[in-house]
Symmetry: C3
């Protein structure tokens, strides 16, 4: 029995996700469908790419992860199957899997073959769900696509000016926590002197939200070890009017 997880930006009200579930259940009656989310901000590939990091490595071996945030549907963008020791990942080739590829050891990568009868507007139902159904029932991905060379996406970029790192904002989550594109291990040998975000100075890196009183501002390494700015029981994104271009400043001690 295969586990098939589903992530999309479709919302659920229109029934598009229902259609994908029906296609998979019809092809693979024993597959167990697990919703991750359908509430990705519409068209937000970067939000989805970060979300995938939160769950991909917790599922049983052989899990099939279908991920569809697909503003280029119908164009010449290809569909992908990523195969690792642990899992399969199925979705469009538009950067959705870039963060995953920085962390997960891929074995093989396939470009999905064109399917004659697919609609131009709904590859979730007509391409990605059928591919998931076939893999769930044992079809080898090499039958469904052309193997292409593994590509390593470029790691997170940030500016360094003197002893200050300027780290771009990655995403804002559901609670209004603001997450930046740097992980704890990148600074493991550095001493941090101070952290500034929009003029606000964080005196320390907290361990958990409730270390500050309700409404208190804090920064911490979150459960994925990314740097995060939060407001205990509030929305840091609202407090700071966070926007896409924001950077956080990490002042290092360069002795």
């Amino acid at each position: 029995m295969s586990v098939v997880t589903l992530l999309s930006d479709f919302g659920t009200a229109n029934g598009y996700v229902g259609a994908m579930k029906g296609v998979i259940k019809s092809m693979a009656p024993d597959a167990e469908l697990i919703d991750i989310t359908h509430d990705i901000t519409p068209f937000s590939i970067s939000y989805a790419a970060y979300t995938i990091l939160n769950y991909y490595n917790h599922f049983p071996k052989g899990t099939i992860h279908v991920c569809v945030v697909d503003p280029g549907v119908g164009s010449s963008r290809k569909g992908l199957i990523l195969q690792s020791e642990q899992a399969f990942y199925i979705g469009p080739d538009n950067g959705l899997f870039d963060l995953l590829m920085l962390e997960e050891s891929l074995l093989r990568l396939y470009e999905i073959n064109d399917l004659a009868e697919s609609s131009s507007t709904f590859h979730g139902r007509d391409v990605f769900a059928p591919v998931a159904g076939l893999i769930a029932t044992g079809t080898d991905p090499s039958k469904l696509g052309k193997a292409i060379p593994l590509k390593k996406p470029k790691p997170f970029q940030f500016r360094k000016v003197g002893s200050i790192l300027y780290i771009p904002k990655l995403i804002t989550d559901h609670f209004g926590n603001i997450i930046f594109a740097i992980k704890r291990n990148e600074l493991s040998r550095k001493t941090i002197r101070a952290i500034y975000y929009k003029g606000y100075k964080f005196d320390r890196i907290n361990n958990f939200y409730a270390q500050e009183k309700a409404g208190g501002l804090l920064c911490l390494w979150n459960s994925l070890n990314f740097l995060e700015v939060a407001q205990n029981q509030g929305s840091a994104a609202e407090y700071f009017s966070a926007c896409a271009e924001d950077e956080i400043e990490i002042h290092l001690d360069e002795k």
Copy 2:
């Protein structure tokens, strides 16, 4: 093992859907529950009716579809069981299944018997979930309701003035795509000269969203073959301030 799908306008936060799931699992432990959506706009029967079209025909034979958008709960409106070759549909008799009945070949239609102990406000839990649980465990619908004549709802209405069709808006979806009450096959023998929506002229019918650049306006036959106005990577509903009374004009070539 039966598949039981669930659609409602309950949201999930209140636990009403949880109660329905518990009732079904208690009666039919082997039933597999699949969420379609609980985010139908509250009380919007027409939105739900369109949503059903998106998924009903993709599920395995014998699937039980529970659909509850029920502003008249507790009144004299009846509950229905629709039986087709493929599936069972369970829900209130308030127009929720009208679009489905235009497309799906029904075999039988039943009015659900009154249940003595049901609450007046929550038939999802007290009527429709138990009926689904009983059908999932093999009870024949004829034991649960009275067979009534199949009724064919009236097809989509539109005005025709000279060579112009005025098509009413059906719904707006999660992405802000605006969907109109006409299907591709109704115009298959016609030549379309132009399409106007709120003064905006569409020069062609696109095949997919990404044929226009981001922000570009377009119309296309969507994945259900309804006419749809969209903005690539944006919300056409916001752009046009779409409202319920809107019509789209299709100018035909009447040579």
Copy 3:
């Protein structure tokens, strides 16, 4: 095969719930995961406590209910396992189970042992999901925590002035229905003379919403037998600008 239900205020878009599901499926492959909701208003323990009442008693015997609304994560607040004849409940010790404990007969209560490797910010994934996975595979809760005395939370409080009861607002639901902290049986021997909410007088207690015309205001005993103010096919919360401090007045006939 165990049923494991999930309630949280995480939303789904960030993948936190996905991580919990992966952890449980990895530990208990046969467990069946059922979403209750992840749309609890962030940090709203009282909303979640009420929601639990709606579904807890409808699931099959042995169901494991995981409930995580946890603003104090990482602090010294403990995790709990509640065991009844019917079910297990797992979540933080912060009042989330207070309404449940007024209704459900508990057999045993455990404080979850500290887990060495858990993160400070995500006990849903690192504590509550693993505990659920272990119970689902047969581990006795006494192996996972220390038995502590059962505590009975204090029942609903209200003021009584002469023959008038002032009942505090409990929550507002998804439809904008306003629910108050009193149950029908508490007034079973009383005669109600009138009910006032923010100056509006309800002439009777309705049986169902559609007894009033669309837009009509009403009050009724809801499907959990709590007193509820509603607007048929509308939002009473919007109509009345409901806020947390609101009370409803029940005027009794004290003959």
